[in-house]
Amino acid sequence: MKRFLSVLLSVGLAATIMGGCNGNTTPTNASGTASTSGDATSSETASGDEASSAAAAEGASAKGKTFAIVTKAAGNPYNEKEADGFKQAIEQEGGTCIVKHPEAATADAQVSVIQSLISQKVDSICIAANDENALQASLQEAMQAGIKVSCLDSKTNKDSRQVFVNQAGTKEIGQALMDAVLDISGGSGDWAILSATSQAANQNAWIEAMKTVMKDAKYSKLNLVEVAYGDDEPQKSTDQTQALLSKYPNLKVICAPTTVGISAAAKVLQDKKSKVKLTGLGLPSEMAAYIGTDADHSCPYMFLWNPVELGQLGAYTSIALVNGTITGKAGDTFEAGKMANSPYKVVDAADGGTEIILGAPFKFDPSNIGEWKSVY
């Protein structure tokens, strides 16, 4: 008797999973038919048809389309402003926007998000990748399903995307940071880098660029002693900064190309009234108390760009891809609403793929920090 009941129950469970196969919105019934899942494949090809019909539409209007943005992590104001800019632009153009933050700052969590978006049949995904290569399988699946994939802020490898929306040329960022280190250190001495996680694609790209720039004779007297990883956590960044200070007594400059790292290091240096100075990439709202050229302030100047604008550019890129205005190959141009440098042009990127550049990195120093700290 018990066995019969168990078998009946298992069939019922299986039926529940299979139920609703025809795409109707009626809720399933426990004693429903155990239909085959052959219909599943047809629902996936349908999304392909949707995308191609969208390409026939004209202009920058995004009406009726769904655009998704996937950030690097939840609970981070920089990512939040990116997503805000994206959402603003999409909704202005009449589209629907989905903002997804992964559960954790790992590629693993982003894979689940991408899979979920594929199921939701979105028209485009714009993603800031936590790992350059780990998302390839799922992003390729998305592209096969007809979804347009672009990256912003932190790129994937060239096979996982159609185009990369870069906040500022990787070489330009490396150059600007390297010049800052040269300037602040007085031309020679030890310096160190405090980065985010060791897999972060954007930070790694900038560090590589800095190392390439450093090969020039001008920087020969500078000595990079260590690249420390603060994992974008304030405690770990603080601990790493203190470790750097005690390990290298002749340290002159710390360069932190991450907003969490730079604000943690700034606090450590300023509290200790250290002679070591700081530069890097930081949010003006967090660094306002530490920017100054005198001995009381740890950071003479730093760089960043406007994450809201970056999100907006990501939005316009996604719209352009979905409408067919650009395909992601070099030479394409597209309008980006009311943005300052519109129309934008797609150029070749160093990794073999293509990218779109927002603009040059912006310098924050004591003269302008007051006005920018309330903006972002």
Binding site: M1, K2, L5, S6, L9, G12, L13, T16, I17, M18, G19, G20, C21, G23, T25, P27, T28, A30, S37, G38, D39, A40, T41, S43, E44, A74, I98, V99, K100, H101, P102, E103, A104, T106, A107, D108, A109, V111, S112, V113, Q115, S116, I118, S119, Q120, K121, D131, E132, N133, A134, Q136, A137, S138, T197, S198, Q199, N204, V227, Y229
Partner: protein, 339 residues
């Protein structure tokens, strides 16, 4: 006579429809149907095709659930499985990049997992006084640390040739190979736990390991075997994880042990040992997976999903406890008033 422990000793296996319908597994089955209906209602994209496509990532974690259930039945715990997954995935990636053929790579992954599990088992069975929590806490840190050292300063490694792992991620229709493998292992583990003497010895050890020892059960050998199998299954999980991520990094496998324990406990397996059935764990795993997929499809804040899972977990354990306490009080009253 007042029982020393809270558990009410049953006078024999209950048969019949009543025990079936009042069992925790049946309640779970009902919950599963309810959850599926709920997900279907809130998300039009919750179709079998989509669910099967989103499942592989979570299915890999189910490989950890089966041995973890065995460990919990014994009254032990193993929080190092996530790190074993990390180390195993790392070594497999290196092996693959070194040009070894995919069967060898899979074998290496399994071997690494097995070795880690055997180390756990060795330490636990040699130093019996040590609680499993502390030993696996230490090994958790060590295994992930070894993976960090192996990965070097980049902290991650990607596969150069993904064809081998791609084959693993293949599908038959909409069903990935992984799905069949999971069903296979589920049945195997369930049969072992319910129908074999080895399985009975697990329950015996969990209920009272001294009594089990004196009854002739080779307690330490059983523990060693279970921990080694856990390691091997973690290696298997790592291999399939690599087939979705095409790489490994220092955060691979983070939190897997908590997920596995949560799934097992939600399924009615008590961490005190000796209680629960694997079938419950399997159904609860599917409940949690489907809930996560469904809620993810309506773009619910992932933090809220976590909160819901937390509440579910606590309620799942709280409700039976409270109801059995009320039952016990009622029967005590009944017995007292009978005289």
């Amino acid at each position: 006579m007042e029982e020393k422990s809270e558990r009410i000793v049953s006078t024999g296996k209950k048969h019949g429809a009543k025990s079936f319908f009042s069992s925790w597994e049946f309640a779970l089955a009902i919950i599963f149907i309810a959850v599926s209906a709920f997900c279907r209602a809130i998300s039009p994209n919750y179709t079998p095709g989509n669910v099967l496509r989103e499942m592989p990532k979570y299915l890999g974690e189910m490989f950890l659930l089966f041995p973890m259930a065995f460990i919990l039945l014994m009254g032990d715990i193993d929080i190092s499985v996530g790190s074993i997954v990390c180390l195993s995935a790392t070594v497999s990636c290196f092996a693959c990049n070194a040009g070894l053929p995919i069967p060898v790579v899979v074998l290496i992954g399994l071997l690494v997992g097995l070795l880690c599990g055997m180390l756990n088992g060795f330490i636990l069975t040699t130093f019996v006084e040590l609680p499993a929590m502390i030993v696996t806490l230490g090994t958790q840190i060590v295994y992930r640390g070894i993976a960090e050292i192996v990965l070097g300063s980049g902290g991650s490694i990607s596969l150069k040739d993904t064809s081998g792992f791609n084959a693993l991620a293949g599908k038959v229709g909409p069903f990935p190979y992984l799905f069949f493998l999971v069903i296979l292992f589920a049945v195997a583990f369930a049969v072992v736990s319910a129908k074999t003497p080895f399985g009975r010895s697990l329950y015996a050890i969990g209920s009272n390991h001294n009594a089990a020892f004196y009854s002739g059960v080779k307690v330490q050998r059983v523990r060693f075997i279970v921990f080694s199998v856990t390691g091997a299954m973690a290696g298997l999980c790592a291999v399939f994880l690599t087939s979705t991520l095409f790489g490994a990094n220092t955060t691979t496998g983070n939190g897997f042990e908590m997920d596995a324990i949560a799934m097992a406990v939600f399924g009615g397996i008590s961490t005190a040992g000796g209680k629960g059935r694997l079938a419950g764990g399997i159904i609860s795993a599917f409940i949690i997976i489907c809930l996560r997929i469904g809620l993810g499809q309506i773009n619910m804040n992932p933090q809220i999903i976590l909160i819901i899972l937390g509440i579910l977990l606590i309620t799942a354990v709280l409700v039976p406890n409270v109801s059995s306490k009320i039952n016990a009080r009622n029967t005590k009253n009944k017995v007292l008033t009978r005289k």
